[in-house]
């Protein structure tokens, strides 16, 4: 085995890819060995996803320059199918499952177990169950995708890849929306695949994970390869320096909070599931946020944090909502999004593609859409003022794009997230609810976003942060609520909090519930 460990399975040579106005990749080189986990890291918009799309045939041969050599043979992929034939399977940044089909149907979508066009369902189910076992998912193959969480959906994607006899598995930010537990399970799975001789390319902004599992790491910056590190060279600091081009002193900006009176209060808030009338999702929540305070809600995936936030924000989630919202001590009506925005509440979504952006329109229009009043008079938009605003926020949130006229659908994932943030920053709310504000965002940009949050708090805004990254919550908040199964089960000043303490609170609550 010793020899095969260093056998090169993939070589990408001098890959150059241009989009109108942008050189996304410039002479990028990458080599991947058999049975290795090879990480690719780089800032938002560095070109990581583009490189993988070139490799997997999403951008067909001829639309880029350079060579791809896989298992010793030069490849000219014209579509994803071509690359899959060779055993290269990509799982995109945004999952590509059909929500209303079952797990089994999704696994074999486009690759159906059929004779003469007639699907053999028994065989499909059996084969699905088999690959599901390999990824450690004990779900009925007939369950619909909508009914399982993101973590499990991610595993289904991997099961789908396995069903295709994969030799090189590409995962583009697979853990971005996974809980720590699910992420760990997934990474262990990759290690398991490695022992079976499967190679993996892993793209991630979670540098701790990357440094834990990777054998080698290639850093891309501004569309160029900077370096490839071997296992013994890997350290988070080194990765960051190489990624950003300078070293980052701190991960979180220093803060000196000036906390004032209570700005925002929620009392006895209850919400029922939008489809199942008697399933209570949010149970009698009381929280408050003070002027200049950054409050976090910690909790596991599925604890109801997003549902809580969306139900507050114009009843965008759930039904039979009861409870009271007070702003500066006055009860306010937040029953529609419009009223919520008018009273000064903003909610920046965790799901930018579905709820955050108009992907066919450009940055400028997306930035101002939640606050058109701010760039218009008597309903007439002042184009120049709008330009100023869009450029201003593009600079503030450091969006990497050719101009404010770049279509948001063409932005890299992290940069899309920054547009969502810009939009709500420009709405200038009293209370800003940020749901996973740094999902898919690189370390450097994270720091910038934390700085913005800090500045907003210093201006006297109230900020509520929902995040699954506990270090982030511990790094930027002043006070924490812990949520579990739709209930607030704990509250603590961040100074006294730690990951263990939060986990203990959750475990204790689960013990009580059962």
């Amino acid at each position: 085995m010793g020899l095969t460990m260093t056998e090169t399975i993939l070589e990408m040579r001098d890959i150059t890819k241009t989009f109108p106005g942008v050189k996304a990749l410039q002479n990028v080189n990458l080599d991947v060995r058999r049975a290795e986990i090879h990480a690719i890291v780089g800032e938002n918009g560095a070109g990581k996803s583009t490189l993988m799309k070139v490799l997997s045939g999403v951008y067909p041969h001829g639309s880029y320059d350079g060579q791809i050599v896989f298992e010793g043979a030069e490849c000219h992929f014209r579509s994803i199918r071509d690359s899959e034939h060779k055993g290269i399977v990509i799982i995109h940044q945004e999952l590509a499952l059909v929500p209303l089909l079952s797990i089994a149907e999704n696994i074999f979508l486009g690759n159906e177990r059929a004779t003469a066009g007639v699907v053999d369902w028994d065989e499909t189910r059996a084969a699905a169950a088999e690959v599901l076992k390999k990824v450690g998912l004990s779900e009925d193959p007939d369950t619909l995708i909508t009914n399982i969480g993101v973590g499990k959906q991610q595993l289904v994607e991997i099961a789908k890849a396995l069903s295709k006899q994969v030799k090189l598995l590409i995962l583009d930010e697979p853990t971005a929306s996974l809980s720590e537990k699910d992420s760990e399970a997934l990474l262990n799975l990759l290690l398991e695949f490695k022992s079976q001789g499967i190679s993996c390319i892993l793209i991630s902004h979670k540098l701790n994970e990357v440094s834990k599992v990777s054998d080698r790491i290639t850093v891309i910056r501004d569309g160029r390869t900077i370096e490839t590190m071997n296992k013994d060279q890997i350290s988070e600091d080194r990765i960051i320096t190489s990624m950003v081009g300078r070293s980052l002193e701190d991960r979180y900006p220093a803060r000196s909070p000036k906390i004032g009176e209570v700005v925002f209060e929620v009392k006895n808030w209850s919400v029922y599931h939008p489809q199942h009338r008697d399933r209570q999702v949010i149970k009698n929540i009381d929280i408050n946020i003070k002027k200049g305070e950054v409050v976090g809600i910690a909790g596991l995936m599925g604890s109801g944090r997003t549902e809580f936030a969306m139900s507050l924000f114009g009843r965008s989630y759930g039904q039979k909502i009861t409870g009271e919202v007070r702003l500066h001590g006055q009860p306010v009506d937040t029953s529609t999004v419009e009223k919520a925005v008018a009273t000064g509440i903003a909610y920046a979504t965790e799901d930018r593609k579905t709820y955050g952006l108009n992907l066919i329109d450009h940055i400028k229009h997306n930035t101002t859409i939640a606050n058109l009043v701010g760039v218009s008079r008597w309903g007439v938009i002042d184009d120049l003022r709008e330009m100023d605003v869009a450029n201003d926020y593009r600079k503030k949130t450091n969006i990497r794009s050719s101009s404010v006229y770049q279509t948001t659908g063409n932005l890299s994932g992290g940069n899309q997230q920054k547009v969502v943030l810009s939009k709500w920053l420009f709405a200038n709310p009293e209370l800003l609810i940020l749901d996973e504000p740094t999902r898919g965002i690189d370390v450097g940009a994270k720091y910038e976003i934390y700085t913005i949050i800090s500045q907003l708090a210093a201006q006297g805004k109230a900020i509520l942060v929902i995040s699954s990254e506990m270090p982030e919550l511990l790094g930027i908040t002043d006070r924490l609520y812990v949520m579990n199964e739709g209930r607030i089960v704990g509250e603590m000043p961040t100074m006294e909090a730690s990951q263990e303490k939060i986990m203990r609170t959750i475990v204790r609550a689960e013990g009580k519930a059962s």
Binding site: P20, G21, N358, L359, I360, M387, S403
Partner: protein, 422 residues
């Protein structure tokens, strides 16, 4: 017509940026310019094959009159389609309104105390109001009960087809009072009296002076506004389109307008309906480009959920859009009836297809969120000129239909091809 063009990326790649900036600006706007170019090519083509009949002043005036009601409805349909909906009922609704107008003014014998209802102006207002209500009613079902617009308006199409038949009792009703006919058959009065140009021919050409004045003023206004917006942009340091392109664009569009003005002036001048149309087009360009109302429609069509979560009242917006569509269908119905000078049970049937085709040829997306007023108007003219040209050539109606179908397909194909390439 002002076509706002997007300034190009403010930080284009360093390599060869300068030399290709005109070309890249052209490419970025290929849809806008391409469509106009196609219209011009089609006109030149038919001018050639009809031995110069197409560009006769009389025929040009006719083309405008024949297509005015399509364009009026295409403006509303653009909003509907951009919002992510469709309205199949507009043809029938316009027919129904034409019938209603005829019955109000001619068919129904009102008792003396209600005789004012037969007054063309009162009747016109009633018709507009009824059309708007019809639009609101359909919009209400679509917006608040979430019944797909395809179904609601399909039902509307059947209902109003039937209603026109019913209120006309299956007969044609006409002719209309002369005041009402003016809507389609009238021309603006010449305030200054005609001027004659001895153009070498046996007879001097008499020109409608007021028409000329309006045309020249319109072109000057357009150029001044474009120049002002351009200089304000560059004053703030924003990239503008290259000077060459800017000048060329204005010369071409201004030249076209002046050419048509001259042609119209050498016949009877500006048709009333063209004035109505011009004002409406201006209003809709402003609405879609500058008003928050318009911006919200694009946002809603682009991503309904994201728009709702940005505080846009998507239901109410949809409701209004269909109200506007209803009003425009009513106006179109009256123009159509005034042009035929009678209301017939079959009037308006199938018009919805021409209207929808015009909007799609004009570059709107069936998925919503994309489409321009200028495109829809040019799309309508492309269809109109083809209809007119093929009729002059004496091409059979069946072949005409097929050719139009192919053109629609080609336009959408070209559009998608362009998008995929980018």
């Amino acid at each position: 017509m002002t076509t706002e063009t997007m300034p190009q990326g403010s930080t284009p790649p360093a390599s060869g940026a300068a030399k290709s900036s005109i070309w890249s600006a052209l490419q970025a706007n290929i849809r806008d310019y391409g469509l106009l170019l196609v219209l011009i090519l089609i006109m030149v083509f038919f001018q050639f094959v009809t031995n110069g009949v197409l560009f006769k002043p009389l025929n040009l005036t006719n083309i405008i009159l024949q297509n005015s009601y399509i364009i009026v409805m295409a403006l509303g349909m653009l909003l509907v389609i951009v919002a992510g909906h469709i309205d199949l009922s507009v043809g029938s609704v316009s027919g129904f309104i034409g019938a209603l107008a005829a019955m109000l003014m001619i068919g129904w014998n009102f008792p003396p105390e209600l005789a004012f209802l037969a007054n063309p102006i009162v009747a016109g207002i009633i018709c507009l109001a009824v059309g708007t209500l019809v639009g609101f009613a359909q919009g209400y079902l679509i917006a608040y009960y979430r019944i797909p617009s395809f179904i609601v308006t399909l039902a509307g199409m059947l209902i109003f087809k039937g209603l026109s038949l019913a209120i006309l009792a299956g007969k044609s009703v006409g002719p209309f009072p002369p005041e009402f006919q003016l809507l389609s058959a009238g021309f603006i009065p010449d305030l200054f009296g005609p001027i004659s140009l001895p153009l070498g021919g046996a007879q001097p050409v008499n020109l409608h002076t007021t028409t000329l004045v309006i045309g020249v003023v319109a072109v000057l206004t357009m150029i001044l506004m474009a120049a002002r917006s351009r200089s304000r942009r560059s004053a703030r340091g924003y990239e503008t389109e290259p000077v060459g392109l800017f000048v060329a664009k204005n010369i071409v569009i201004g030249g076209l307008i002046l050419f048509f003005t001259y042609m119209l002036a050498s016949y009877k001048g500006l048709p009333n309906v063209l004035v109505v149309m011009g004002v409406l087009i201006g209003v809709f360009v402003f609405l879609t480009k500058r008003l928050t109302f318009g911006r919200r429609i694009y946002a809603m069509g682009g991503n309904l959920k994201a728009a709702a979560l940005s505080g846009i009242k998507t239901e109410r917006l949809t409701f209004y859009i269909f109200g506007i569509m209803g009003a425009l269908a009513a106006l179109a119905g009256m123009i159509y009836a005034a042009r035929l000078n009678s209301a017939t049970p079959k009037a308006g049937q199938g018009l919805e297809l021409d209207v929808i085709a015009a909007v799609f040829i004009g570059g709107a997306s069936a998925l919503g969120g994309v489409g321009q007023v200028a495109g829809a108007v040019i799309g309508a003219f492309i269809m109109g000129v083809m209809n007119n040209g093929m009729s002059i050539m004496g091409i059979n109606i069946d072949l005409q239909q097929m050719i139009k179908g192919v053109v629609l397909l080609a336009a959408v194909f070209f559009d998608l091809y362009n998008k995929n390439k980018a």
